[in-house]
Amino acid sequence: MAAILFVIGVVTVLTRSNLFKKLLGINIMESAIYLTFVAASNRRDGVVPILDLANPEQPYINPLPSALMLTGIVVSVSVTAFALALIVRLYRSYHTTDARQISRMKDEVTNG
């Protein structure tokens, strides 16, 4: 499942020329990784990791991956915000959000 999402994300980033779609691709890819981490921490009949003195042998869900992924989500939010800001700046100068058109316009500027 996560692998499929990951591949969808990578393909979107690399093939779509719309900048927003590229950004969404990145986000899909990252979600796939979060999913992998969190899925890996799960175990059958695990409980919330709070020590129950009456039943100390109770298996619990590893909280570490979730904590790590929280950091990961923060990182990806800031990346997304920064990328959106850059897209706004690009749109202001080129009036388009299409990567191919932007690169064509850039070539015209350097050649002409």
Binding site: F6, I26, M29, T36, F37, V75, V79, F82, L86, L90
Partner: protein, 497 residues
């Protein structure tokens, strides 16, 4: 007081720049104070690492282990100030100090208004802190976080310059770098799932067992790390973002990106490959051969591409790709000599490429000329700048007595040790090509008649910065001494733990 200071030195070196970076925006209008603080904290960092290298490290023997927040290894994040870390931190602060001096002096010409300038310094310090963190950290998830901090601040530095060209370069860089970090995170996830540890040392211990149970997952993890750090460290076919980003950034940013940021990722790859997977597993998986081949192809192809670049900064950017090829080539050699060569080449290339970029940036901003053919007579008009450029070029080509020679010499010996005649040939040919793309610039600058315009060397701070770096190139080349010894130690620690 001093005892506590000494005890917490490794973490202070990382936290210091980060902390000051967050203080700077509060002082928004006081430009002088902001600049002073920036230079002061980088200088303190250099002093601290120097102290660590000269006094603390020999007294402890091998390395200083520091558990962040008092939590020791398998639970907490561990910082290790060993030979490798201190070597890299010395390089970061040693090159970072001149660049920050230069940034304080000359940024006004390229980045305006002044508020953007102080934000630039914030990003600069964040990057320095992240790189220092990469040097010391011994925890994989910590590596990921630092890599992200570094990536974001690099993109910010690239986009600091006005104009859409910088923005589009920064966007491309951001997209590719984020793909790279996703791959790294996925790789970390696989190692964590198979071993249950994020600490490099502990993961390595478990990985030997995991290798027999889940060979496919380990395969996948290694390839994810290779792609991830390859994108970020500009390993050859994945380098496409670099020339645009490095040539459209403001001068001090190009210098620090080319000199240090790319090396940070190469260092992380080194730590993960040799630290987590270990030398024998790398050889079994054949990663070393992939690295050597990509390094060779990268050196040759990027050198040839550099020859075709008419724009000064773009030529230097392609040359960075070529030199990074050497670094990855050495990473794949799996012997002490090769790794020493890689480490030393990293340091010397950091010195050289930052002085080249500072000199080139000075030329471009004062004259407004970006093309190499337009640089006629610069050598007479701007003697200091061009002298620095010449020294650094000689260093990059690898003439004896300049720093590039030592690194390349060890790489050459290392590749001959494993019988890589082809790799050795590539190392020499790469140097020849390097001369072919750098010397014409020097020829144009010195031996063609100067135009009538009045160009001058930049201000005092910039001059100090460039001369400092050029002296560094000469010192690293003539008396490598204990710094080289440190690289040898670090290399052997990586191989035989």
């Amino acid at each position: 007081m001093t005892a506590t200071l000494k005890q917490h030195l490794p973490v202070l070196l990382v936290v210091g720049p980060l902390l000051v970076a967050y203080i700077l925006p509060v002082l928004f209008r006081r430009t002088r104070l902001i600049r002073g603080l920036t230079v002061a904290i980088v200088a303190l960092g250099l002093l601290g690492t120097g102290y660590l290298a000269i006094f603390l490290l020999p007294s402890v023997g091998s390395s200083i282990v520091y558990g962040v927040g008092g939590w020791s290894a398998p639970w907490g994040i561990e910082l290790v100030a060993g030979n490798l870390g201190v070597f890299f931190a010395l390089m970061v602060t040693g090159v970072g100090l001149p660049i920050s001096l230069y940034a304080c002096g000359a940024l006004g010409q390229e980045v305006s208004p002044s508020e953007t300038r102080s934000k630039f310094l914030v990003l600069y310090l964040l990057l320095t802190g992240a790189l220092a963190g990469m040097a010391f950290t011994n925890d994989m998830f910590n590596i990921f976080v630092l890599v992200e901090v570094a990536t974001l601040s690099c993109c910010g530095l690239v986009s600091a310059r006005r104009g859409a060209k910088a923005a589009s370069a920064a966007f491309n860089y951001l997209v590719l770098a984020t793909i790279g970090s996703s791959f790294i995170l996925a790789g970390i996830g696989m190692v964590y799932i198979t071993t249950g540890h994020l600490n490099i040392g502990f993961a390595n211990g478990e990985l030997v067992k995991a290798w027999s149970t889940y060979p496919h997952v380990i395969w996948l993890a290694v390839s994810f790390f290779l792609v991830g750090f390859g994108v970020k460290g500009a390993l050859f076919p994945l380098h496409v973002w670099l020339p645009d980003a490095h040539s459209s950034a403001p001068t001090p940013a190009s210098a620090i990106l080319s000199a240090l940021a790319v090396k940070g990722y190469a260092l992380c790859l080194m730590k993960i490959l040799y630290g987590v997977f270990g030398a024998s597993l790398i050889t079994t998986l054949g990663v070393n051969r992939i690295l050597v081949i990509l390094g060779m192809v990268g050196t040759m192809a990027a050198s040839i591409l550099a020859l075709g670049q008419e724009e000064l900064k773009r030529r230097l950017a392609f040359s960075t790709v070529a030199q990074v090829g050497y670094v990855f080539l050495g990473l794949g050699l799996v012997n002490v000599t090769g790794l020493t060569g890689t480490l030393y080449h990293m340091a010397s290339h950091a010195m050289i490429k930052s002085s080249l970029f500072l000199a080139a940036g000075t030329i471009v901003t004062t004259t407004g000329k970006t093309r190499i053919s337009e640089l006629a007579g610069i050598g007479k008009k701007m003697p200091v700048t061009m002298a620095v450029f010449t020294i650094a070029s000689l260093g990059l080509v690898g003439i004896p007595l300049f720093s590039g020679f030592v690194g390349k010499w060890y790489l050459l010996l290392g590749s001959l040790e494993v019988g890589g005649v082809l790799a050795a040939a590539v190392i020499i040919l790469g140097s020849v090509l390097c001369a072919a793309y750098l010397f014409p610039i020097i020829r144009v600058a010195y031996f063609e008649p100067a135009p009538q315009e009045d160009w001058q060397d930049p201000g005092v701070l910039e001059k100090i910065a460039m001369i400092g770096l050029a002296v560094g190139v000469l010192v690293l080349g003539t008396v490598p001494g204990s710094y080289l010894e440190m690289a040898v130690q670090a290399a052997s620690e990586l191989l035989f733990k």
